[in-house]
């Protein structure tokens, strides 16, 4: 297992290098002198000269890239033009907000997606299965920012049940924090639930026709035991992997959800950065999410081993 994981890590290294080249290259898509982009409104010649020195803008591009990567490896992704804060610090500030949103969304996704998938697999071909599939496909087709707007309209404007926007840190007021996060995480969670449901369904259908499930039934075990103990356990292995891979969807979904509900997280940070032409922040976020995705991938690989005893020996 260790050898396998080590190999995966080795393959991931060139991928990360390419990602860093891509992210570095982004600033060269901009028209004009990258220095003026890095400097923002700043036009003081001394400051410009210092920046030129720091990012080695007089050197050839490969040298610039190495300087940039060297800084990045030390946690220096540049400085936000707007707040003058280091990009890493800014991201670290916003991250807990998005993590809370992500975790609560994941709860919705798992609680809705997995039972729906099991139900639809067990009742394959019936009206229940059909309805579950239609609902899941609709879930995939609804733009989640629109769902958010409609929920605000209904729950906040019409019924005045939940706040329409804002964020309260859980350390301040846990109950209020959950209340404000409820709608956004539902919106984001249902989008993931649809994907999760479709995968649980197909995984369960595969497992339900396996020999050991037939044996379990033949032994006269209750259907509930057969499905939950024998079938589900095996069907869940690919689902755990998939859950780790939903990371990308989660981050992308968070961008829109945070925008609609004005939640000051990672996603709102990137959108604000785009509008403020705060390019270092945009680059930092692309780099961090991409590397985060690679790490989640490795984690999914590791989980696959842990959950599948047959692979452990090899």
């Amino acid at each position: 297992m260790l050898a396998f994981l080590l190999r995966r890590i080795l393959i991931a290294i060139p991928t990360v290098v390419i990602i860093s080249i891509m992210v570095f290259g982004l600033q060269h898509l901009l028209p004009g002198d990258p220095l003026l982009v890095l400097a923002g409104e700043e036009r003081d010649p001394a400051v410009l000269e210092a920046l030129r020195e720091k990012y080695r803008l007089n050197d050839p591009i490969p040298v610039q890239y190495l300087a940039w990567v060297g800084n990045a490896l030390q946690g220096d992704l540049g400085v936000s033009l707007r707040t003058n804060q280091p990009v890493t610090e800014l991201m670290a500030q916003k991250l807990p907000v998005t993590i809370q949103l992500a975790l609560m969304s994941m709860v919705f996704a798992l609680v809705i997606g997995i039972p729906a998938g099991i139900l639809s697999a067990v009742k394959k071909g019936t009206a229940t299965d059909y309805v579950a599939n239609v609902v899941a496909l609709s879930g995939l087709s609804i733009p989640n920012f629109w769902l958010g707007i409609m929920l605000i309209l209904l729950v906040s404007v019409k019924w005045q049940l939940l706040p329409a926007s804002g964020y309260v840190p859980p350390s301040e007021d846990l109950w209020q924090s959950i209340r404000t996060m409820l709608m956004p995480s539902f919106v984001l969670g249902t989008a993931l639930a649809a994907t999760l449901m479709r995968h649980t369904r197909s995984s369960m259908i595969g497992v339900l026709s396996a020999d050991y499930v037939r044996t379990a039934r033949a032994k006269g075990l209750a259907e509930r035991v057969v499905i939950l103990k024998h079938a589900l356990r095996n069907a869940l292995t690919p689902i755990v992997t998939l859950t780790a891979l939903l990371f990308g969807e989660l981050v992308a979904g968070a961008v829109l959800t945070e925008q609609i509900f004005t939640i000051p997280g990672f996603g709102k940070l990137v959108v604000d950065a785009v509008f403020n032409r705060d390019y270092a922040v945009v680059q930092g976020i692309v780099l961090v999410t991409a590397v985060g995705f690679i790490v989640m991938n490795l984690f999914a690989d590791a989980m696959y081993f842990v959950l599948n005893p047959r692979l452990r020996g090899s």
């Binding site: 733009p143 707007i149 404007v157 990308g248 992308a252 990137v270 692309v286």
Partner: protein, 295 residues
Amino acid sequence: MTRTATQAPASNDPVLEARAENRVWKKFRSHKSAMLGGALVVFFILIALAAPLLPIPDPAATDWSAVRKAPSWAHWMGTDEIGRDVMSRLIWGAQASLAAGVVSVGIAVLFGVPLGILAGYFGGWTDAVISRCTEALLAVPFLILAIALAAFLGPSLTNAMIAIGISATPIFVRLTRGQVLSIRQENYIESALAVGLPTPKILSRYVLPNVLPPILVQSTLTIATAIIAEASLSFLGLGQQPPAPSWGSMLNTAKNFLNQAPWMAMWPGVSIFFVVLGFNLLGDGLRDALDPRDH
């Protein structure tokens, strides 16, 4: 030559081809949800094409005497914050959405499929380089990459299409590569090699036609994703720029008038939902119809 040709599943024999087409079409037709999806897609395409011919107000014409009016006989879907007809903007907005979906997926196919064929057919270093680049692109969440590209390229509908197209390219590289890897093991490729057919001919005559069905399915499904992505970018202000109508930017404005004019937020979302659902249903149906395993 004719021998190798008849061995290939994508044969040049008109009778066999017609039969295969019939089978696929028959299967597709019996697939109710796929037909529904197809109908939805055709409906939106017709609306988008007919926009200039329909008796509707100019989508950019403002009317200060009819600001944020609820749906009425004069304005079936109401008016927006500067008195423009919502239905007219919706119909014209269909053009932006469909164009974005089709063009961005076109870009992704145009770059992704050849790269995938190269990687899958030649293997070795070519494959290693292409695959690592694909993985790097895939690691950035689709929308984040599109946002970053749109940000650096500058906000416009064209740049949004390019950004979405580039973000979707790795999907096609990966799919095509996988298909080619399995086709490469087939007997008909070996025969073609044995008779000394030059590589470009093998690629265009035997490899390409056989990777096309799954690419068609993936394209249909990716158009659905691309339409949502364009709406998302326009919603964030990174796609279609005002005053040109687009469903995403309509929702962006509507969000500020939820209290006073909820109808503004209703229809663009419903339209996105149905057109995306249409492409999703169509894609699922095509996958079943083109699946050679169960006929």
